[in-house]
């Protein structure tokens, strides 16, 4: 605080408090609704005092949607996506920012456009690619006549086929193939002073050494931040897992939510639905609370 502004301070507190209430209210309502029984949860207005059925509802939701293995699946996928993004984006951003080669801007735009076209937009053909991930290469070989050549020379017929439906790699890889992280790293690398690069070069460091010994340590906070963001993003994916996991043993927690929507016509079991919602929102909430420092610290620019 720099100067005394009692009037403004009052409004600051007021507005922030209103924001706080709007932010927390849905969580509170979900938690309270999850503790009521069928009759109380449908009361108008619903009582804001917690009921007594909390654990019963949690258990019912857990069993109905079979959440145990699904939470595990979500964890595996979210970790995979976060790790993949952190590594691959750093490499790419380094290449784009620190080198000047022919076609660099083309590569930049090729990568950048992926940021604009989320998976959801090209969901139908991506699904087809994941069903046989080597199909693009097979087609290229066929079109260029290479597969004919190979068959002539070696007598082996080229038939590349690798289905990734209902597998972790099929879930993870397409989600890694976007530019979100690259953009973040690029913005950060651009703020790294040129003098550091000059000094490193003067000391005889090549690009690889500079990347590993200077750039990566500098962007440690960025990595933690990106990892956290990507973990949450992957955990919260909905449409992709919905399509790719036809097999129940690979289903994700979030896609199970749809089974918890109360049926129209029957008794609206909002208490069970809210209990399930609570379970599924809990793990990312914990990550947000624990990793919060990394968010803020990682995204802050270098000085201060």
């Amino acid at each position: 605080m720099v100067e005394r502004t009692p009037f403004l301070n009052f409004f600051t507190h007021l507005i922030l408090f209103v924001g706080f209430v709007f932010c927390v209210a849905p969580f509170a309502i979900v938690a309270v609704a999850a503790s009521h029984n069928l009759k109380d949860v449908n009361d108008v207005p619903m009582s804001l005092l917690p009921g007594s059925d909390f654990w019963v509802n949690i258990k019912t939701a857990w069993v109905t949607a079979d959440l145990g293995p699904k939470l595990l699946n979500s964890f595996i996928m979210a970790f995979g996506v976060a790790a993949g993004k952190v590594i691959i984006s750093a490499l790419t951003a380094f290449s784009i920012v620190y080198f000047r080669y022919p076609g660099r801007m083309l590569i930049f735009w090729l990568i950048f456009i992926t940021l604009m076209l989320p998976l959801e937009v090209r969901i139908v053909p991506t699904y087809a690619v994941v069903a046989n991930v080597l199909e693009p290469y097979q087609t290229i070989l066929d079109l260029t006549g290479l597969s004919w050549l190979i068959e002539k020379v070696s007598g082996v017929r080229v038939a590349l086929s690798l289905g990734l439906l209902n597998s972790y790699s099929g879930l993870i890889l397409p989600l890694v193939a976007t530019a979100t992280g690259t953009f973040l790293y690029r913005q950060f690398f651009l703020t790294v002073p040129d003098e550091l690069t000059e000094a490193a070069r003067m000391d005889g460091a090549g690009p690889l050494r500079f990347f590993i010994d200077v750039l990566l340590p500098l962007s440690r906070n960025n990595m933690a931040a990106l990892g956290t963001i990507m973990f949450l993003w992957a955990w919260n994916q909905y449409l992709w897992p919905l399509l790719i996991t036809t097999d129940q043993s690979h289903a994700m927690a979030v896609t199970e939510l749809k089974q918890l929507i109360p049926n129209v016509g029957g008794a609206p079991e909002w208490h069970i639905a809210m209990a399930g919602t609570l379970i599924i929102m809990l793990p990312p909430m914990i990550v947000v609370v624990l990793m919060q420092r990394w968010f803020v610290r990682g995204l802050i620019a270098t000085e201060k």
């Binding site: 605080m1 720099v2 100067e3 301070n9 600051t12 924001g19 706080f20 932010c23 849905p26 309502i29 449908n42 108008v44 691959i88 490499l91 790419t92 290449s95 620190y98 080198f99 080669y101 660099r104 990568i111 940021l115 604009m116 989320p118 998976l119 959801e120 937009v121 090209r122 969901i123 139908v124 053909p125 087809a128 690619v129 693009p136 890889l173 976007t178 690259t182 913005q187 690398f189 651009l190 690069t197 070069r201 690009p207 500079f210 949450l232 919260n236 449409l239 979030v254 939510l257 749809k258 639905a273 809210m274 929102m281 990312p284 609370v289 919060q292 968010f295 803020v296 995204l299 201060k304």
Partner: protein, 294 residues
Amino acid sequence: MEKRVTFSRWTIGILFAVPQLFLIFTFFYWPAGQAVYWSLTLQQPWGGGNIWVGLDNFRSILSNADYWNSITASLIFAAISTGLAMFIALVLAALTDRQLAGSWLYRVVLIWPYGIAAPALALAFRFILAPEAGFMAVVNQVWPGFWDPGLDGTDAMASIIVAFSWKYVGYNFIFFLAAFQAIPRSLIEAAAMDGSGVLRRFWDIQFPLITPTIFFLLVINITESFQDSFGIVDIMTSGGPANATNLMVYKIYSDGFKGLDYSGAAAQSIILMVLIVALTIVQFRFIERRVHYR
């Protein structure tokens, strides 16, 4: 924006980009190309490959009133929810950055919504905004028939905008607050010594310094409003009532995977891609110019 000092061994440079290029080729450009191919052909009902139909798929989509309705709904949704989420987050972050007593609480709590999966918060809001139970039911008791997202298209649109904005306020808040905190305290203090008030400091120092963040968030928010809305729409309204919330991605999904009209869905995907890319290029051309990178 370019680096002044770079490395000269550019073969190594390209190697660094190879893994990413492989991934985006396989899972991005190939499918995108496939979408173009499908959009120009029609699958035969009994198998036997695709027949070339030129631009017929596009013609039939663009002459369809439902599709225009879907575009309008998506644009309204993108504009209102992005505006709402960014404005609220900016105000809250600027106020939190004043670091009054208790501001740590807001710093911790206001980012929680970002952690929640869109479908999960959609289910929560479906309950909260349900006309017969939850909280809007109270309003309905006072004015019967005032609120029913199941029947009234505007109410349904309002519901999904509220749910989406609620999540993205948290997201934007994280980035805005980080940007505000990155501004050296000494700058603010020096300005205060020169006699500038809180508002003047905001407009002349803080706001210009966070323009990169605003730009970044604008791009992300608009893209996400096309993408992340799927879960919300699917859980809250299923595109209804009467297609009022049938956003473009949801329509692609329901036409492609439920209606099994791959060609139509592919053509819609192409139009959506063009729309988003155009929006982004416009943003880069006209807005990044006003952005000050340090």
